[in-house]
């Protein structure tokens, strides 16, 4: 339950999307399935995984932009969402005598006050800014909605301050987004997220749409801002190099499930899960003179469709270590020491 060490705790979070299959039939797409993690104040948790594995959905569900199908979210010691299911110490769902889950209290708070605490930076700097609004109005909107400024002048000054904070020329406040480059637009998005002084920001692949040369600038800015303001990040990316650079801890997802979670260096030097190992072996090394000695592990086969997930461990169709047990049940997400969590039967 609530642990004062953490700013944000996510327990057994599930997000199933109904998908129409035929006329009257709907099936569920398990975009996020039983994901748990926690973030300390001022910390960066990196979240990596292939395209379509549910990273964005985790971020959006956290902020209640989608109503979670199940799970519990605790922010700053307060439960902001709880679907009521209970779990025992081993992470198994508690069932009553009839095989129905034991239900606790349901919680679904009004998110408005929390919108000031949790913010988001979006992936696409082109579609995340309204083309009909000036930069001043874009950055000022959160100030208006939460009534953080009492008059026009104060609002203007705050917007200027924010623009300078993210390295934008404050003289450009009256311009429209289409007049800015991708990197500058992303900075506008960051300024908008920072306007309410949040404690936590979900950064959804904030640099993957940018040029490599600009990526480094923006990533460094994220680090500087963290130092200055003490915000915590959930930093989503599919580039392990970037994530390793910025994160304190890294979580690896595959098909909606959490596979491994560990300190950034620990994960990099000592990956345990077969999927993480293959991901790391595919990271291009910047200097060929010091090319990694280890052999590249090439994954065979395709990612299964999230609509037809394999039974048991979702990775078993492509895993070199797969055994019969892997098909029977999902391996538990267990601590292998020093907060290094892994979900695998055989490793």
């Amino acid at each position: 339950m609530a642990n004062s060490e953490y700013l944000l705790q996510v327990e057994h979070l599930k997000e199933y999307f109904p998908v129409r299959a035929g006329l009257a039939k709907t099936i569920h797409l398990k975009a996020v399935d039983d994901v748990s993690f926690a973030i300390r104040p001022g910390e960066t948790l990196g979240l990596v995984g292939e395209s379509g594995c549910g990273k964005t959905t985790v971020g959006r569900t956290l902020l209640q932009l989608y109503k979670p199908t199940a799970g519990r979210i605790i922010f700053d010691g307060k439960v902001i969402f709880d679907s009521g299911e209970q779990y025992d110490e081993n992470g198994q769902l508690k069932l009553d005598a009839n095989g129905k889950p034991v239900m606790g209290k349901k919680v679904h708070v009004d998110m408005l006050p929390y919108r000031k605490e949790m913010q988001m930076v979006f992936q696409d700097p082109y579609s995340s800014l309204n083309p009909r609004m000036t930069v001043e109005d874009i950055i000022g909107e959160p100030l208006d909605v939460h009534k953080l400024c009492s008059n026009k002048k104060e609002r203007h000054e705050r917007v200027m301050e924010l623009m300078e904070l993210v390295g934008l020329n404050a003289e450009h406040a009256m311009r429209y987004p289409h007049e800015f480059s991708g990197g500058q637009r992303q900075r506008i998005g960051i300024a908008r997220a920072l306007a309410v002084n949040p404690k936590f920001i979900v950064c959804d692949e904030p640099v993957s749409a940018l040029d490599v040369s600009i990526q480094a600038q923006v990533v460094n800015m994220f680090e500087d801002l963290q130092e200055k303001l003490g915000v915590a990040y959930l930093f989503i990316a599919h580039d392990l190099l970037v994530v390793h650079h910025i994160s304190d801890r890294i979580a690896v997802m595959y098909l909606g499930k959490m596979m491994e979670l560990a300190d950034a260096d620990e994960l990099n030097d000592n990956p345990i899960h077969p999927y993480t190992q293959s991901l790391l072996s595919a990271v291009p090394v910047p200097d060929p003179r010091t090319a990694r000695a280890s052999k590249r592990i090439v994954l065979e086969g395709d990612v299964p469709s999230p609509l037809h997930m394999p039974s048991g461990c979702p990775f078993r169709t492509r895993c070199r270590y797969a055994t019969e047990q892997c098909a029977k049940a999902m391996p538990p997400f267990t601590d292998r020491g020093n907060g290094h969590f892994v979900a695998c039967w055989n490793k």
């Binding site: 959006r60 902020l63 932009l65 998110m111 408005l112 919108r115 000031k116 913010q119 988001m120 979006f122 992936q123 696409d124 579609s127 995340s128 800014l129 309204n130 083309p131 009909r132 609004m133 909107e141 959160p142 909605v145 939460h146 020329n169 450009h172 009256m174 311009r175 429209y176 007049e179 800015f180 998005g189 908008r192 309410v196 060929p288």
Partner: protein, 365 residues
């Protein structure tokens, strides 16, 4: 890989990349602050609206259409004050009906008129387009016909806009089951044969509306047919607008800036007002501009079929219909109203196209 003396990798003879060994590391100095600042220089700030207007003004056809429409509008407002004839009365000379003034050619006077002018020395106003078979001045009838046709086009388009905008917004914004049901209704209306429906509806409405309209003087002066026409257009043509608005809202809803607004905590009403409607406004304006000529066209053919506006009120379509009878002897009578219909429809279509080119952001990039 091998390296040249200056530390740069040597080019593989088969590689198409630049030969780096020709450069030294000195060629790859980081840019100075000044050089970076030069990259930052930005163009003159332009708002979306100004930008669109500028592009519209560059489009010669669109500017020409605006000029034509403004001239037409001015003439239908001003000309009736100067022409001493009325669209419904037979020409009178000296207070008496002039039976000889039928089917005159343009700028011709009847015998009685010529006589009158010789006797008094007074110059009568010329019949610019001649007169019709009943002896009414044709010019003023065409002007009034244009008035009626334009009014029908505008009012019908506004009705379509209002109904379509409300219906489409609800459907697009709510989504889900509400959207599915609302759109099936639209599909049903869309699949009705519209010419047949218009004819049936205008006949039925004509009869049922009569008692109501006769009580209200303002409506009475408009005429039952005209009101029935407005209603018919409103009832049938809003479906296209509703579909358009719904589609726009659905696509704009997908944009991350709407999600960003929700992350901020912006209430739904404000999201609709500040983020969604401003972004579909240009498409709506364009389609209204294209709706007007289609309503004018429909009114014209209804009047041509004889179920449009009520006599003696002329419309461009009914004028053309009347002219059909004497087409062999007096072809000019058909040419004038047809020409004006063409002019209006063409001008609105070109203007609509120009607006789309200037304001539709999808064509911009």
């Amino acid at each position: 890989m091998t390296y040249a003396e200056n530390g740069m990798p040597e080019k593989n003879p088969l590689s198409v990349q630049i030969d780096l060994s020709k450069f030294s590391s000195a060629d790859f100095e980081p840019a100075t602050a000044d050089e970076k600042a030069q990259q930052e220089v930005m163009g003159e700030s332009v708002t979306f609206f100004k930008d669109g207007c500028r592009r519209l003004m560059k489009n010669k056809l669109a500017v020409g259409s605006i000029v034509v429409l403004v001239l037409l509008l001015l003439s239908i407002i001003i000309i009736p004050f100067f022409v001493p004839y009325s669209y419904e009365d037979i020409i009178t000379v000296d207070g008496r009906r002039d039976k000889t003034a039928t089917n005159l050619a343009p700028f011709e006077w009847s015998q009685r008129e010529q006589q009158y002018m010789e006797e008094t020395g007074e110059k009568l106003f010329p019949h610019v387009m001649g007169t019709d078979s009943l002896g009414r001045d044709y010019f003023i009838r065409v002007i009034y016909g244009t008035r009626v046709s334009l009014a029908v086009g505008l009012v019908a388009s506004i009705m379509v806009l209002i109904i379509g905008l409300i219906y489409g917004s609800i459907s697009g914004w709510c989504g889900g089951t509400v959207d599915i049901i609302m759109m099936r209704i639209v599909d049903i209306i869309y699949s009705l044969p519209d010419t047949l429906m218009i004819i049936l509806l205008s006949v039925v409405l004509n009869e049922t509306l009569k008692p109501v309209i006769e009580k209200v003087p303002l409506l009475q002066s408009l005429g039952t047919n005209m009101i029935a026409l407005f209603l018919v257009f409103g009832l049938l043509y809003w479906v296209g607008m509703a579909r358009l608005v719904r589609g726009q809202i659905l696509t704009i809803k997908q944009n991350e800036y709407v999600l960003a607004a929700r992350t901020i905590g912006t209430p739904s009403g404000r999201i609709l007002r500040k983020h969604i409607l401003p972004n579909c406004l240009s498409v709506i304006i364009i389609s209204v501009a294209l709706q007007i000529p289609s309503a004018i066209f429909t009114e014209s053919y209804l009047s041509f079929l004889g179920i449009g506006v009520k006599v003696p009120m002329p419309s461009l379509g009914s004028l053309a219909n009347e002219a059909r009878a004497g087409i062999n002897s007096y072809p000019m009578k058909l040419v004038f109203p047809s020409l004006i219909i063409c002019l209006i429809v063409l001008a609105f279509n070109l203007l609509g196209d120009g607006l789309r080119d200037a304001f539709d952001p999808k064509l911009k990039r």
